[in-house]
């Protein structure tokens, strides 16, 4: 068996590993093993690549890898669980950037005059999609890290500017396709970066997770394109796997939010709907209360349901929420958490956060399990959630969230909202439940308020 065959066999083993990894990650029981199988597959692929005949610059490769590991491992290990989504965004972005660089470097090294048209097409695709993924992920990171506003960013003539950049990219791509010009390819690279930025700017914070999933899929496709350019099956298979599964995952995620993908990507949603949403509610009053009163209310309740949302994640209040639950449980109050599938910043994010705070698993109830029990709850404590308990999803057919499954907090005897302000949730629409006579609001940072509640329950 020649060395080339042996290396190809290693690649075959590697992509079996990748497929098994994706299969494993789809089931809660085998998810962690799946990830390890994927990592082993990757190790085999990288090891086999070192054995390639004629691979030069070994020292440079090792130095570059060492730098990557030195930055990547601490960054990934030290990041707080609440900051995971933006970490995924940034690691996705660098992957897209790498794919674009691989494509363009290979293009430079080839004799472009003799290049077949489809080869140039592959390079173009890799550079374009990789760059969009890179700059798009960077903006998504900035939005989630709150380096910039999470609200959709709109500006005058946005559609026109987007269209002009889009057409320019297309025209330039066609020109490069015909002329195989390297300088023009660089211009295209920069324009593609711009395209990634303006593509992501109008997308609101709540939709960014879906966007990251889409960009993840883009990076996969860029990697596959690089694979075509380099004649590498392992890149084609792994990239395509991620590209295809990523698109499906993106659709599933937007479906869990009750939204369609084009709606998420192109509607600059929040800004428009906020206007119509708040118009009808001028001058309506809500009932507020003090942590002391609510503490007493909960201390003498039989059943309290905590409905955590994005606000709890932002305030990093999961540990205090657990303290409150413990305090209540000690007093004989039955407590559980009702978890909406898209609570937090990403689907499943809330489960991760609460697990980190060592909330016992049997106290976490998925929406379908929690909803039948809501009617028997004395208090529904909504911590930093809004859209996921908004009855408009059921009652108002015209509402942007109509059809999204919700947690029926409105079925509980008392509803307590912990909110920072009256600002609507991410969907940018008003919540009728806030004005319900049985609803009480506690304004302030979720963590502070929860701490006061813990003290109040203890004193009751």
């Amino acid at each position: 068996m020649s060395r080339g065959t042996a290396i190809d066999l290693c690649y075959l083993v590697a992509f079996i590993g990748f497929i098994l990894a994706l299969m494993g990650l789809s089931s809660p029981r085998r998810a962690r093993d799946g990830n390890i199988v994927g990592a082993v597959g990757m190790l085999i692929a990288i090891g086999a690549t070192f054995a390639r005949p004629g691979l030069g610059h070994l020292a440079l490769i090792l130095v570059a890898m060492a730098i990557g590991v030195a930055i990547g491992v601490p960054a990934a290990r030290l990041v707080k669980m609440t900051a995971m989504p933006q970490m995924v965004a940034i690691f996705n972005g660098v992957g897209g950037g790498a794919a674009a660089l691989v494509s363009i470097t290979e293009f430079i090294s080839l004799d472009t005059k003799l290049l077949a048209t489809y080869k140039v097409l592959e390079v173009l695709f890799g550079v374009l999609v990789g760059c969009v993924s890179f700059s798009g992920s960077a903006i998504a990171f900035a939005k989630l890290q709150e380096l910039m506003t999470g609200r959709p960013i709109t500006y005058p003539a946005q559609q026109v500017i987007n269209a002009v950049v889009g057409v320019a990219v297309l025209a330039l791509a066609l020109t490069v396709l015909v002329t195989s010009s390297t300088p023009l390819l660089w211009v295209l690279l920069i324009l593609a970066l711009v395209l990634g930025v303006i593509f992501v700017l109008p997308i609101g914070g709540a939709d960014v997770p879906v966007l990251i999933s889409l960009l993840n899929s883009f990076t996969g496709l860029a990697v596959a394109a690089s694979g075509f350019t380099l004649d590498s099956n392992v890149l084609i298979v792994a990239g395509t796997l991620v590209g295809a599964s990523g698109i499906l995952l993106t659709r599933m995620m937007s479906k869990a939010m009750g939204r369609s993908l084009p709606n998420i990507l192109f509607s600059a949603f929040g800004s428009v709907v906020t206007a119509t949403g708040t118009a009808g509610v001028e001058g309506r009053s809500v009932r507020t209360s003090t942590p002391e009163d609510i503490g007493v209310l909960m201390a003498y309740a039989r059943k309290v349901v905590i409905v955590p949302g994005y606000g709890l994640a932002v305030a990093q209040a999961q540990h205090v929420a657990k303290e409150l639950a413990d305090e209540l449980t000690e007093r004989g109050v039955e407590v559980f958490y009702a978890i909406h599938p898209v609570a937090g910043r990403m689907p499943g994010h809330m489960n991760v956060l609460l697990a980190e705070a060592h909330v016992p698993y049997d106290e976490l109830k998925e929406m379908d399990e929690a909803n039948p029990q809501m009617a028997t709850a004395d208090v529904a404590l909504v911590v930093g959630a809004n859209d996921t308990v908004n009855p408009a999803a059921i009652t108002t057919p015209g509402s942007p969230i109509y059809g999204m499954p919700i947690i029926h907090a409105d079925a509980a005897e008392h509803v307590v909202f912990l909110k920072r302000s009256m600002r609507p949730g991410f969907a940018g629409i008003d919540n009728e439940l806030l004005y319900d006579p049985k609803t009480v609001l506690l304004f302030g940072d979720a963590k502070d308020t929860l701490q006061k509640l813990v003290a109040a329950v203890g004193a009751a």
């Binding site: 789809s26 491992v73 992957g95 599938p341 698993y361």
Partner: protein, 123 residues
Amino acid sequence: MTNGILEYLTVFVLAVFVGFEVISKVPSILHTPLMSGSNAIHGVILVGAMVVLGSAHTGAEEALGFVAVVLATLNVVGGFVVTDRMLEMFKAKPGEQRGGTAAASRGPSGDGAATTDTGDGAR
């Protein structure tokens, strides 16, 4: 050459179907880890980056290839470590029910050991 591209296209099309098939039944609580896990898998671009840097002839190619390897390594290492840390949290489930020893092992030290493990694997 024409045959080459057809072979690759065949592989591509089959991979599309496999990609759709493998995640068709994923529960929503695993959407985030699955996204992160597939994010790590496209880090395989590292193989491409190594090949490009390994066959670089000019200074420009070396520089581009070098940056590509750094970025791709970040993608691989970061992707697998982040995913493992997320799934570490999920592992609490069976531990909780079995009680005692399993629950004790999911402290901060268990987390650290696990991530180091994957870091080595990715290298």
